[in-house]
Symmetry: C2
C-alpha cells in the first residue's frame, strides 16, 4: 500500500517526521504539493534521503496543473507528486 | 542538442519566453532551478505546455541537493532538473 503526504506551509522537519513515520508502515509513499509548497516538497524528500532514510529512492516525479476556484476566481496552480519507495523492505 | 534554462526570481513569463525561444532552436531543453525557484520552474513548464507549446512533454524530472558556501556558511539547497522534449520535430 501507499501513503499520501500533503506538503503545506509548516516547517520542513514536520513533514520529514511524517514521512519517516509513514515509511515505518508502508514501503511506498506519495508526497504531494501545490504552488509555493512544491519547493518544500523537494526539501522534505532531500532532507529525508540525506539524513534519515538512506534506503529510499525516488520512483517517479510527476508535475501538473490544478484548477482552483470558479468563475472570476478561477486560477491555475502547479502541482507535484513525488513517489518514494524503500529499496529494502526489511531494513 | 539540448539547451539549458536556469530559473531564478524574475517573473515566470520571462522564462516562458526563453523556453519557447529555446525550442525554436533545439528539440530538447533542460530547465534547472534551486531552492525557492523550484516552484517557479514547475510553473514555467506548466504555463508553457498549457498555453504556448502543446507538443512538448516531460521526459524526466530529477531532484537533488547542491552544497553552497563553505566552512560555517556551508548549506544544502534542493535542486530540480526538468528535461523537456518536443514530440514532433516538424511543428
Amino acid at each position: 500500500m501507499t501513503e499520501n503526504i500533503y506538503i503545506g506551509s509548516k516547517p520542513v522537519l514536520n513533514y520529514v517526521t511524517a514521512l519517516v513515520t509513514a515509511f515505518q508502515r508502508e514501503p511506498s509513499v506519495h508526497v504531494f504539493a501545490r504552488g509555493r509548497a512544491i519547493s518544500s516538497a523537494v526539501d522534505v524528500v532531500e532532507v529525508c534521503k540525506r539524513s534519515f532514510l538512506k534506503n529510499i529512492h525516488v520512483d517517479e516525479i510527476a508535475i501538473g496543473t490544478d484548477q482552483l476556484g470558479d468563475g472570476d476566481d478561477l486560477r491555475n496552480v502547479s502541482t507535484i507528486k513525488i513517489t518514494l519507495r524503500k529499496t529494502d523492505y526489511d531494513s
